[in-house]
């Protein structure tokens, strides 16, 4: 007979749900408001979204309860916290890009903001759980919202991008479930900590099963993290989406993916699955190198940034392979610093977004567009230059410190060869970032019209740009406090 259910509300730790609850509530309220009051401007929704995000961020920061909540489905540990912070801050910054100078289809619709908040909620759930079901649902919620948002840009390319992303996402979902199934078959559990326990008890036998599960998980997460050869969607999707969303995509889905990968793969590597370590080693190198090599030959800045984000992801994935606390802290540090540089770069693209293809039949932001920018629009050129240098890992700008810390982590754990490859890759990467610099600073302008570079510029964008420049430039003093916070959180969760 079934016993009556008695649930201790305190043990549920409801507060741990607060951040996600706020975002979901925000999304719902936006829909409701949209139903109630028509003709609201995009600025209203944007600001409202930001407010909800800030509230959620407050809830994350203010959280000091137990790790586990709701029958262990929710795991609010350190990396969940830190990644949520990154997700929320990035979201808040990027959603403000909606307030560009021109009107765009998607930003005029309240649903966009609702979907945006739903997506954040999805990612939040995804990072704060070690239950494969929960992760899956969170992932899908976020992805579905994201597909729609891409398509809402309402250009043929946006649709194409959305469909490509969606289809491949569906396949990746298949991989994910397959992996979960094999893990379940092996351990009878769908919770990572439980899986770890059982696998250790079984001595990782049959290894082929463990590896197969890992393989499918690699496929699923590799898709999210745009790991070679699961990366093929990245450039197309970035190109098709609006610059604002593309920039967002280069940060948030990946950090969520990294967290899941950390939870799962590091468990395996720590338990001595050398196979995974080797495979990841190769994958990391391939991803870095491929991203860099193909980025070299791109003609469009946005596509170039897409490939470069593949390379950056590969670089950061090395942290998972290394697996030390330092490396994991480095991962988050890198990603935060990368976020600011990327925010700036994509914002700049967004601000220079012109209604027509003036330069190339296909591309919105071909390199040619920027040639001689220093003469036409010097401030913009210098700002863009700073972001390029930052992305290239030029000291003293932001990403350099991330690179430094990650490479140091590699060296400290004895992965010297890896560090060398990372270094060589950064050298290679410099070329394509430099290409834009060369166009902007060294070539002659194609047009004397300054407005060409500011057709979507607005005060908000300027503020964001200013903020990004500021953070990127002074990151040397930010590293210390950031590291302290990150290391604190990462150590808390035992990574």
């Amino acid at each position: 007979m079934l016993e009556p259910i008695s649930i201790d509300l305190v043990a549920l730790n409801v507060t741990s749900l607060l951040p996600m609850a706020i975002t979901v509530f925000g999304a719902l309220s936006i829909i409701v408001i949209d139903l109630a009051a028509k003709n609201l401007q995009k600025s209203f929704f944007t600001v409202l979204t930001v407010l909800f995000i800030i509230l959620s961020l407050g809830a994350v920061i203010g959280f000091n309860g137990e790790d586990r909540a709701f029958f262990d489905v929710i795991l609010s540990d350190g990396i969940a916290m830190i990644s949520q912070m990154i997700i929320l801050v990035t979201s808040a910054l990027f959603v403000l890009l909606a307030l560009g100078g021109r009107r765009f289809q998607e930003f005029a619709m309240a649903e966009f903001y609702a979907l945006f908040l739903f997506m954040i909620a999805g990612f939040q759930f995804m990072v704060s759980s070690d239950n494969l079901i929960m992760i899956f649902i969170g992932l899908e919620t976020a992805s579905l919202a994201l597909y729609t948002m891409i398509a809402m840009h309402n250009r043929a390319k946006a649709h194409e991008a959305a469909i490509k992303y969606f289809t491949m996402g569906a396949l990746a979902a298949g991989f994910y479930t397959m992996s979960a199934m094999i893990f379940y078959a092996l351990t009878g559990s769908v919770e990572i900590h439980q899986i770890a326990l059982v696998l250790n008890a079984r001595g990782f036998e049959p290894l082929v099963g463990v590896l197969a599960a890992t393989v499918f998980m690699l496929g699923a997460l590799g898709f999210k993290l745009s790991m070679v050869p699961f990366h093929t969607w990245t450039p197309d999707v970035y190109e098709g989406s609006s610059a604002a969303l593309a920039g967002y995509m280069s940060i948030v889905p990946k950090i969520a993916g990294f967290v899941v990968a950390m939870r799962l793969f590091e468990m395996l590597i720590d338990s001595g699955v050398v196979w995974l370590e080797n495979i990841l080693y190769v994958a990391v190198i391939m991803t870095m190198t491929f991203g860099n090599i193909v980025a070299l030959v791109q003609e469009d800045v946005k596509r170039m940034l897409a490939f470069s984000s593949i390379a950056h992801a590969g670089f950061v994935m090395a942290a998972i392979l290394i697996g030390t606390t330092e490396a994991n802290a480095g991962l988050f540090l890198y990603w935060i610093l990368f976020m600011f540089a990327n925010l700036g770069a994509f914002t700049m693209l967004w601000a220079t977004r012109h209604r027509q293809n003036l330069w190339d039949n296909r591309y919105q932001h071909p390199f040619v567009k920027f040639s001689g920018m220093i003469k036409v629009s010097p401030t913009n050129a210098v700002i863009m230059g700073i972001f390029m240098f930052a992305l290239a890992g030029m000291p003293p700008f932001s990403v350099f410190w991330g690179k430094l810390y990650l490479m140091s982590a590699a060296v400290n754990s004895g992965h010297i060869a890896l560090a060398v490859i990372m270094a060589l890759n950064s050298a290679m990467a410099v070329y394509y970032y430099m290409k834009l610099i060369v166009y902007m600073f060294l070539k002659d302008p194609v047009s004397d019209d300054e407005n060409i570079y500011s057709s979507n510029m607005s005060t908000v964008l300027k503020v964001i740009l200013g903020f990004a420049v500021f953070v990127t430039s002074i990151s040397i003093v930010l590293v210390e406090p950031l590291l302290n916070i990150i290391t604190n959180y990462v150590t808390l969760s035992g990574f």
């Binding site: 029958f71 739903f118 059982v198 293809n357």
Partner: protein, 184 residues
Amino acid sequence: MFEVIAFYTFSILTILMFGIVVLSKNALYAMSALAGGMIFISGFFFLLGAEFLGVVQIVVYSGAVMALYAFGMMFFDTTRDVKENIQYKKILYTLSVLSAVLIVIIMSAPLFSANIEAIYPSMVEGVGNTQMVGLVLFTKYLIPFELAAVMLLVAMISGILLVSKRMEMNLTEEDNYEEKGEII
């Protein structure tokens, strides 16, 4: 014995059905076969004592999903044969065969372990499957369940939005620009 016969029958049928889905040139056949395959799969669920899931499978897939597909198909006017221009067939075949072989090899490995204790036992004396499912769903999996609701909401909003009239206008186009040209 019944189990064996049922398993093999259903297996053959599902494989057949899904084979048609993948190989048929006619979209209508493919869709019908998919619906059939889904129903046969629910047969496995019943066989395995997951009545609730079996019902859900029939309702959701054969009901909702297939209806959606049918509407879609009518919209796209693909009831007739579709021409598919398949490139690099050799690669396709190699990949197909390899994937089948490898996945089957892995699945036939002894994944199962007898000494694992169920955390959420499905068989409690005197309690039906549906009841058990309800119990677990509203305790342990309450949050995923709620999130699934959110996900469905997202899907709903997306679906409505994407096919709505609003996606046919273009704000940028309406803006008064002096230059003319293709909107990107």
